[in-house]
Symmetry: C2
Subunit: 191 residues, 2 copies
Amino acid sequence: MAQVRPMRADARRNYERLLKVAVEAFAEHGEGASLDDIAKRAGVGSGTLYRHFPTRQALLEAAYLDRIEALAARADTLAAERPPGEALGEWLYELGVGMIRMRGLRALLGPAVTEGDAAVATACGDSVRNAADRLVRAARQEGTLRPDVEPMDVLRLAHGVTTASELADAEGRQIRRYLGLLMEGLGPRDR
Amino acid sequence: MAQVRPMRADARRNYERLLKVAVEAFAEHGEGASLDDIAKRAGVGSGTLYRHFPTRQALLEAAYLDRIEALAARADTLAAERPPGEALGEWLYELGVGMIRMRGLRALLGPAVTEGDAAVATACGDSVRNAADRLVRAARQEGTLRPDVEPMDVLRLAHGVTTASELADAEGRQIRRYLGLLMEGLGPRDR
DNA sequence: ACCTGAACACCGTTCAAGT
DNA sequence: ACCTGAACACCGTTCAAGT
């Protein structure tokens, strides 16, 4: 692994300003927020934005990296505090609430759960997939999750249910209920 | 209701060419297909497209109206042929397959299941909601569907599950399985 | 009554020129 | 080494001029 050379002072400053403005812009206008506008609001030329973040996905990833890591850490906390099935359900709920509150997070997580043969190995994707892996494995062992359901299935379905609850209302008030119905379906067969 | 005056011959011709090209373009490039390109390919000025279809939604609706009506009719056929729960499941499956095959149909149906206090009363939306209404009511009566689940909930969740299966792979090979898990969750509580 | 296409605004992306 | 901003391509939308 190449040692990452420290950025020049002005580059570092621009990088940080861009991230700060990007989070605001994504919150305001969703994942489609104008990149040109972000550059302008950050007071840099558009070329500078592209230099630091060659694609929209790269910018999204950098902007939400810390919240993704917080979510991953939260998975461990929940796993330690509650029985596996409950931990998984609560984690998915918090993930869903995050995707609704921080518009742009969902756009970032979509590709991470897509069967993209390559190019999906992003840092964010790995964090989320690993967290889901741990929770799903435990719930399966406990017997509260069907054995044929994979972590990726759970992530995709949670993503879909979040979308569904956003269709109900923009604030996602149905998310808990919809996730409950999903979890019921993911439980062991019993008839 | 105002009597709809017949279109002038050239207008009618343009209208139809636009629809035909639009279906192709949406299939090829998804809901975001370039309107300018559609006009060009249909051999009309861009103004003509806007005259006939003031918004992208209006074009989507006109393009898919017949398939929506076929789906609504299909609901009645299924209701006559199978027990209610099965009819609902199969109908949702066919709806999902349609949304994956005809990219653009999902974009059309999204707003139709959104809690938009107004402006949602489109012809397409009404057809789909009515069909879902009949199937859901019957399944509830039969006892294979939880009584607290509304038709709109079912439509939204099916929409979400379809999105989830498209995340798995572009052809939606998981849709049957994912819908099965959802239907399990929508069944009566039994423990 | 309907159509055309130029005009305008906006956005993404690249790259030559600057420091 | 990094930044700037003009330049280009593309798209949505409107509207004056045409038939």
